[in-house]
């Protein structure tokens, strides 16, 4: 943790909201990303990310400075999203759900083609994650998008390292099966998008 960050945390602990808002500015993207991948809609992600920062601000006295602030805040965001999914049984966006399947990501690309491709990819991501349970989904998100080690995931989700390994193994298998299913189903949008990714990987 850099000196400025620890200073900001100390100032925030003393009640300086402005100091904490600088930390919010810094970590908004990874926190929002976790919430978005977990909950599937920008609105739910915004609410969850805001709530995660509020909870972090209120729990600053319990924050251990030895621990990375990023890990701590992502842990709050992941656990809050898991709770939300369990409580409300939020249905993650699915490719089968025509109403929401092509919902725009919060920050579309510059060109219309890029924006359309990003939409497709985001919808595919959400569809792949859809069948995972809340904790497995969080483990996958932390590993793939935040490069967390097994130990870091275990610490974040309050699991043992071996439990994380077995959860990720199971999740990968489920996602691979889902991916194969998606390539076989008849929906033209899904089929073409999945095939495009398959083509991209084969050319790599």
């Amino acid at each position: 943790m850099c000196e400025t960050e620890s200073q900001l945390i100390a100032e925030a602990k003393a009640g300086d909201k402005e100091a904490f808002s600088i930390l919010v500015e810094k970590y908004q993207k990874p926190v929002f990303s976790v919430c978005y991948r977990m909950l599937g809609t920008p609105t739910a992600a915004e609410d969850a990310a805001q709530e995660a920062f509020i909870r972090a601000y209120q729990a600053l006295d319990r924050y251990d400075p030895e621990r990375s602030f990023a890990t701590w805040i992502l842990s709050i965001a992941s656990n809050y999203s898991i709770d939300q999914l369990r409580k409300n049984k939020v249905t993650i966006l699915s490719m089968d759900n025509d109403k929401h399947a092509w919902l725009a990501p919060p920050d579309p690309g510059p060109s219309p083609e890029k924006a359309a491709l990003d939409k497709e990819k985001n919808a595919l991501v959400q569809a792949v994650l859809a069948d995972l349970n809340e904790t497995d989904r969080a483990a996958v998100i932390l590993q793939y998008w935040h490069d967390y080690s097994y130990e870091e995931i275990a610490e974040t989700l309050d699991l043992s390292s071996s439990a994380v390994k077995s959860r990720l193994f199971r999740a990968r298998k489920l996602m691979a099966e889902k991916w194969q299913e998606m390539q076989l189903i008849s929906a033209p949008k899904v089929n073409s998008a999945a095939k495009r990714i398959a083509h991209e990987t084969s050319t790599i």
Partner: protein
């Protein structure tokens, strides 16, 4: 896949993948998913996220302060209400019993007046009879006798005190 396999294990895995089409398909699918995850755009919140957070915190604090203020005012009102009710009940009991209390006071005073009248009625004739029976000479002898005894006792008292002082010095 997690770079956890040693060279021997990796050789074994690749050997198996060449033979097993099912595992090969799963491996390929996992690879494609990893590629999808890497290339998917990173979602970002709408502009002004931290400003909205600050607004939320401010609103929460305002709500909290309002709750504290309302609770304090509520507690004070409740305490005042209890105080007023208690005092009111006491006053009511005093007010309710006031005529009885006044009646009892008047009765007590009347009884005392009656008692003193009766005593005076008994004593006054006795004095009158005594005054008629005793001649003025005996009255003077009694008065001077009691005065003499009192004077003698007082002188004896002072002398004994002086003697005690002399002995102690």
């Amino acid at each position: 896949m997690d770079e956890e396999l040693n060279q021997e294990q990796q050789r074994e895995l690749h050997g198996h993948l060449k033979q097993c089409s099912q595992c090969q398909a799963l491996f390929k699918a996992s690879h494609q998913i990893a590629h999808l995850f890497k290339t998917a755009p990173e979602p970002a919140p709408a502009a002004g996220f931290s400003v909205r957070w600050l607004e939320q915190i401010d609103n929460m604090e305002k709500r909290k302060n309002r709750v504290i203020l309302v609770s304090t005012l509520g507690a004070i009102s409740l305490a005042t209400l209890i105080l007023i009710s208690t005092v009111g009940l006491e006053l009511r009991s005093v007010v309710g019993n006031f005529p009885q209390m006044m009646f009892e006071l008047v009765t007590l005073i009347t009884n005392w007046v009656v008692f003193l009248n009766q005593v005076s009625d008994i004593i006054t004739p006795l004095f009158r009879v005594g005054a008629k029976l005793l001649s003025p000479v005996w009255l003077y002898i009694t008065v001077f006798g009691l005065s003499g005894i009192t004077a003698a006792w007082t002188i004896a008292f002072y002398r004994s005190r002086e003697m005690q002082k002399e002995i102690s010095s």
